[in-house]
Symmetry: C2
Subunit: 341 residues, 2 copies
């Protein structure tokens, strides 16, 4: 049996790391949008700005023409930011093979449409099968080959299993799940909770406060996911709880770090301009608020984070607001269900 | 209205910190078993070995006679290790006022009977009302008055509300819950998962592996709790997820630190003899395995941790075993439910 051909679309940290990992199981083409980055990757085998000292195997073909990269590929693995996914895929949707499985590594919601990433993929490339790959997978740890577990998610079991086989290796255990709604909502919105967690860190609060916020945050995400047709068990699993814990406890999470900087009093544009990559949660926060409003779901934490990002309240006031809300629930005397949010 | 009279039984870290906190809302008597500790507390206002520089208000009456401490108290708050609770309470059960509410701060299971702490309290003092107080409450953060949230748990709503009022203050938000089974099983067994988490830390694995283990660990605890009659929502709340996250991420958790030392190759008796207090999870692990066997619930993580503590396998082999089990689930091809454990 010949090796599967995989096109990885996007040479940021996740895309570059995924190329290195997948090159052990598959023939990999890595698309870099900027020709100078493609040149650097080919010449040095490294992508210093995104993955530091990680060596990409010479077997990985680095390509700066998107059509060449995806042509006749068995898998197209997309690792571009959420706002770029539609445009990038639209450029090549017509030339994708029918058997191609399009896999999203991107966690986010499209801003105006409020669509999940596989929904955008379905609109742009309706003939192909699609999946999401998610879970607690901090890239710098995957690069170090530290043990991890992730989830291949598709409504179609055979597609999920194909993605599971593609990504699985001795240090990365891959499970399957058919609840695409739950997994993608969890993956997108956990970045917003992580920003809130960073705000709590920035104010010097401790593990007790963060654990309470994480607990209430997951309850909020679960409420929205279930309202949209997802399953609560997905939120209790690797794509939900697992990913949320990883993002919220990692010292390397861009979203958590963003929240921490917000408390320092810096403006959102100022923070954004000082970093190479925009924390996905920044974009997701307003989309999440719109989605919650559309579905009639109460999401106080997401709302406060979005308000701070929109400049409607300061990070300090926002964090205090979160603590006050907690008191509110208590005063309301909700017995029995309390402790859950 | 006169102030409630509270006897805090046990002057370890939690008991001492609780006395300091409660002295803002109530007249507190703190029982110290060792007369020399009582003398130190009275003379210096501190309990250096357990709570460092924390000053205990002179209004707290430090008593070394247990009967004097609990006599006619409105609340008896028990903060002794799980193996000591029955014996201590039995000494004074006959003299407790009927109106006394006995509150357990202790997280653990009685070794042979496999009873939860409030079940032991019920056997020893059946006439009094009882409650548990639990959640993500790392003592050193409560001492610093960092914001936190906890849960007052009793089958009887009025009792839970009374405990909520007793403990609640401007920095500690207290919720109520009537699911005593779920809250106590979660509180006891999270210490075992925390030991497993420490083993993973000791082997130098990262956040991805820990997040996966925490997710699977909570699923294990939930399965047992539900089998015993508890509610899954309690495990998703502060007493479950909240407490587990706090214990597993804290640098100060005795249970997590114990697991880390196990990987260093030190024997259990050696580690135990080098610390002032025994990590509760050490005792709970074997009781948890017995309880899981009795209820026919599969608890692979708890089983491995108990096996390492019992000296049946090394911490290194045990941690590898946990990773292998994960592969096992994958090979079994459990689609849909995977990601949950």
């Amino acid at each position: 049996m010949s090796m599967a051909v995989v096109a990885v679309v996007g040479a940021g940290s996740w895309g570059t790391a995924a190329s290195a990992m997948l090159s052990e199981n598959a023939a990999v083409r890595l698309w870099a949008r900027r020709p100078e980055l493609a040149t650097e990757l080919r010449a040095t085998g490294r992508n210093v700005a995104y993955t530091g000292e990680l060596m990409i195997s010479p077997a990985v073909e680095v390509i700066d023409d998107l059509s060449d990269a995806v042509e006749d590929a068995d898998f197209v693995v997309i690792a571009v930011p959420s706002h770029g996914l539609r445009g990038v895929l639209a450029q090549v949707a017509d030339i994708l093979a029918e058997r191609t499985i399009v896999v999203s590594l991107t966690k986010g919601l499209e801003q105006r449409s409020l669509l999940r990433m596989t929904e955008v993929i379905e609109q742009v490339a309706p003939k192909q099968r699609r999946a999401a790959f998610t879970g607690p997978n901090l890239v710098h740890e995957l690069i170090e080959r530290l043990p991890a577990a992730s989830v291949a998610v598709s409504e179609d079991v055979a597609t999920a299993t194909a993605v599971q086989s593609l990504f699985g290796n001795e240090f990365l255990r891959v499970y399957t799940n058919t609840d695409v709604i739950g997994a993608e909502i969890a993956g997108a919105l956990k970045n917003v909770i992580a920003i809130g967690m960073g705000m709590v860190d920035g104010l010097g609060f401790g593990v007790n406060a963060k654990s309470a916020l994480l607990t209430r945050g997951l309850a909020e995400l679960t409420r929205l996911g279930v309202a949209l047709g997802g399953q609560a068990s997905t939120f209790a699993g690797l794509a939900g709880l697992g990913d949320l814990v990883a993002t919220c406890t990692s010292a390397h999470s861009r979203n958590r770090a963003f929240g921490e900087r917000l408390v320092g009093g810096r403006s959102v544009p100022d923070i954004v301009s000082s970093t190479t990559t925009v924390a996905e949660g920044v974009r997701t926060s307003s989309a999440a608020v719109a989605l919650a409003a559309r579905e009639g779901v109460d999401m106080p934490i997401v709302k406060v984070v979005a308000g701070v990002i929109a400049g409607e309240l300061t990070a300090r006031d926002g964090t205090r607001e979160l603590m006050r809300r907690e008191a509110g629930d208590e005063v309301a005397g909700v017995v029995g269900r309390s402790g859950t949010f």
